[in-house]
Amino acid sequence: MAAAPAGRQIHAALAGVTRTYPGAPGNKPVHALGPVDLELWRGEFFAVVGPSGCGKSTLLEILAGIQQATAGTVTFEARPVAGEVPQGLGVVFQEDASFAWLTVWDNAAFGLRRSGTPEAEIRRRVDDSLAFMGLTDFARAYPAQLSGGMRQRVCIARTLVLKPRLILLDEPFGALDAQTRLLMGDELLRLWRRTGATVLLITHALDEAAMLSDRIGVMSARPGRFLDIVETGWPHERNSTIVGEARFGEITGRLWNHLRGESLKSLGYAGMTAE
């Protein structure tokens, strides 16, 4: 694991983290993850790629404090994460997590209302967040009246209003078509630049990881471990047009070289890895 380069702070870290799930009666426990060591640098965009079932989402949930690690330590802003989601951390999930009974506006205001923020401040932050996510015209709509991509934007807006310093995204565009995913990627980059937050993105899409990230962690098949951390070297100001650059092809090629064998392993074709 590379140490944080000069001038960069470690924002969150996992050290020797493992996760083992108890097996069903009569079955062995399932070793899902680790040991994993990872340091996220303040303000970076980090993506995690890996074969299906390698423990990517488990890693995210442990970092968020939603799940507890079986062993190892997790820290966020130098404080241990244990059993509770720390303040300053926002999570966007793959599934539609919008509240169907609330309007888009009320969805976005949900967290602020809970925290007792004054109404005028809620209005300002929600309006700003909806405008940023292009949802102003749909503020009074209900999630069921929106497309999948827009609903995901509602969830991002709900996270954004809380001004998280670390944003964890668990395959947020997994259910969207390729074009929408590229456009959502642009929005995500805009959001990242504007908030200055550290972003950890879990994705199965190599192109998405290569386009969005400063660094990409490549995980092995279960139990997931980091095989490589790829530095993309993209400039801070970037967008989806970089998919046309030669460097983009090199990065995705390098990721695929790592993942091909691991994906075959996870699918049970271990014998084909040498071919």
Binding site: I66, V85, E95, F99, A100, W101, Y142, P143, A144
Partner: protein, 252 residues
Amino acid sequence: MNAIGWIRLAVIGAAVGALELASRSGLIDHRVVIAPSEMADALVRLLISGQANGQIALTFGIVIAAVLISVVVGFALGAAIHALPRVRQALEPLFATYYAVPIFIFYPVMIAIFGLSVIPILLMGVLTALVAMIIATLNGLDRIPRVLMKVARVHRMGRLQTALRVSLPAAAPDLFTGIKLAVSYAFIGVIASEFLLAPAGLGRIISDAYSDFDNRRMYALMLLLIVVATLVNMALHALDQRWAQRRGIVRP
């Protein structure tokens, strides 16, 4: 009103019109079924006279009480059973067969225990409606997407906050279905019990009118029941449709 609403109204209008015609023309013996217009006239006169108002208030009061008890107790039991998977496994087959048992066989037992009063009637209303609410609560809690529980954790919500602000609204469509069923079943349970044996109430005076060959009174009270039950169900249905539309749930 949309086209479907007009079709529905036309079907009801045609059925009432056909009955009116059949009764007035003598196709149906007037001593057996009176014309709907006559039923309505008798009902208006009965309500104005105030003769049956006490009985009507009593019955609807018992129905409302039975609905409230069934909904509150049914929800509490459903939530408790949902939290105890082993208890649920043991009880679920019983719930599945509950409505296959004619619950009214217990009515004499209730009368033997509580006497000929409103209590056995109320209990029959509750017994008829309760399990529908328990089943609806179980279904509602089962269908809460797990991701919403994770969102609640991300927002650092406690158990009570999660229950009130996430679980309850997420389960609301199924809970509302339970309430709709509880209303219908409570109506049936209370009226049928009164009809069988009761010191007072709408079911009892319908039964008395039947025994006395007082067709006008009997049909007037039956019409009142049909109108009230239909209006209550229509109101609940409209509310359900409105909420379902917001949530993107397609209801027939």
